[in-house]
Symmetry: C2
Subunit: 323 residues, 2 copies
Amino acid sequence: MMKDIAGMIIPTYDDMLEAHARIAPHIHRTPVLTSSFFNDLTGAQLFFKCENFQKAGAFKVRGATNAVFGLSEEEAAKGVCTHSSGNHALSLSYAAGRRGIPCHVVMPRTAPTAKKEAVRGYGGTITECEPSTSSREAVFAEVQARTGGDFVHPYNDPRVIAGQGTCSAELMEQTDGLDMVIAPIGGGGMISGTCLTLSTLAPEVRIIAAEPEQADDACRSFRAGHIIADDAPETIADGLKVPLKELTWHFVSNHVTDILTASEEEIIAAMKLTWQRMKIVIEASCAVPLATILKNRDRFAGKRVGVIITGGNVDLDTLPWIR
Amino acid sequence: MMKDIAGMIIPTYDDMLEAHARIAPHIHRTPVLTSSFFNDLTGAQLFFKCENFQKAGAFKVRGATNAVFGLSEEEAAKGVCTHSSGNHALSLSYAAGRRGIPCHVVMPRTAPTAKKEAVRGYGGTITECEPSTSSREAVFAEVQARTGGDFVHPYNDPRVIAGQGTCSAELMEQTDGLDMVIAPIGGGGMISGTCLTLSTLAPEVRIIAAEPEQADDACRSFRAGHIIADDAPETIADGLKVPLKELTWHFVSNHVTDILTASEEEIIAAMKLTWQRMKIVIEASCAVPLATILKNRDRFAGKRVGVIITGGNVDLDTLPWIR
């Protein structure tokens, strides 16, 4: 079903539907929460799609599971591999574990111990690299050549984007119509999946991406009309440091209405307020959409807004508001 | 409907049903969450009734709302009053605010600023006392005499117990049969409501109370056959420091199967693990049941166990695992 456009394999709405059927036995249909406190505060009606309650603690498991369970028996026998220091590493390990196939992950030596333990807990095998692009690429090339595993990119992969698109399909089923959906943007996997699904299912819904000011490469790309990649942005929203790639740029440039940004301080305040008032543990990355809603109240007031809470894998020993 | 036994007004099952109809417009029917991680860890099937998502952040709003909305117009005009440094103060203020009547709360001068601000946010009026029983009683007597407000005790009140009983009524509807229900015990309001409801609705369900080792007065009372009250117990589970009173003792002594205890270290570990794996913010008090399940695995393995997560009002600036 995937369309080949300009040398890229673009996933279609049917790919998303297929992905949903494929991954349903392995993922949660996460709940949508509302908060009268945040509705009063923003003047909008917010519908929080809680992927922090997802298997492996993040939406990334949707795309990873779609890739893993879409492999033929022959392909699957060699396993999968990827590079990631975050939720994609956990998610791919989880999915591979469910299928009973090997999963090799290249992670920087400096990645948090908790993340490494979680990957191992799901049965993934870690090969460490230095925390630099050149080291990661060299080590990953070696691992891929040695294992022959299928490379599942964290976001620039049509199977992954089709998988992430299942999230907004559920969100639309769980709500009674929306005016907007807002999600954080890093590499653009979730936003691309959202575009893929909504452009067919509910093209009237505006899609807003939210990004840290300190890692605003997607916002600048959007304004410039071509991909701008930053070298090493620093932000508390550590899931959002990676740049757009050609596949996600395709969706962002065609379907996103706007990209809004928030400062580090605003992100941390929104994160803490969400823990306090909604009693849910969310990552800093997930607080970026709420932070941008709070500072652009006029854009959202009176609207029905789906907010994708992307994950809840937080190091509880070092919270950004406790110094 | 309430029965007068030995000079006490004992709430009945019908009172609980009436309470449920009365409070339904003002409270959340909170969700029941499950966790494959905790099921694997304990060998039991756990059903977490999430009162941390409740209005005002705790189950206490059930009893408080039942008391407030059960008042006649004439009684209501004078408002309500209570003494509490915790969730009952918030809950009564919330309920009184919904009905538009005054709420006076006596709180120790030393109570957390965040709690005081929350009470005021809901429209409650605070009168401060010194952090001692004698000061609290003197100040409260003055406030009650001055305002003429109806005294809603945090737990030793039949209207409050009938209200708390609505929680396990929902839990039974939301699950497909349970072998046990476990909840924390302090003054015994939640456990008494659970006894009230289950002794009629599902008398086969065993009711287990969970208590901090360092505030184990209910456990010692249960073994001794009469109320033992500690003077000033110290525990991280600050909602559980108060002693049983005659009404809650009636239910505990007649219907509770057992009272289990956990150490401070075990409580903190269970609390942190719940945040980590379930991505929900729970108070230390709510972690006591899980802590006792983890240390008494044999008692719970193979059983379907309802676990009441009583509240989520936590000071995020001082977490017990961050020193």
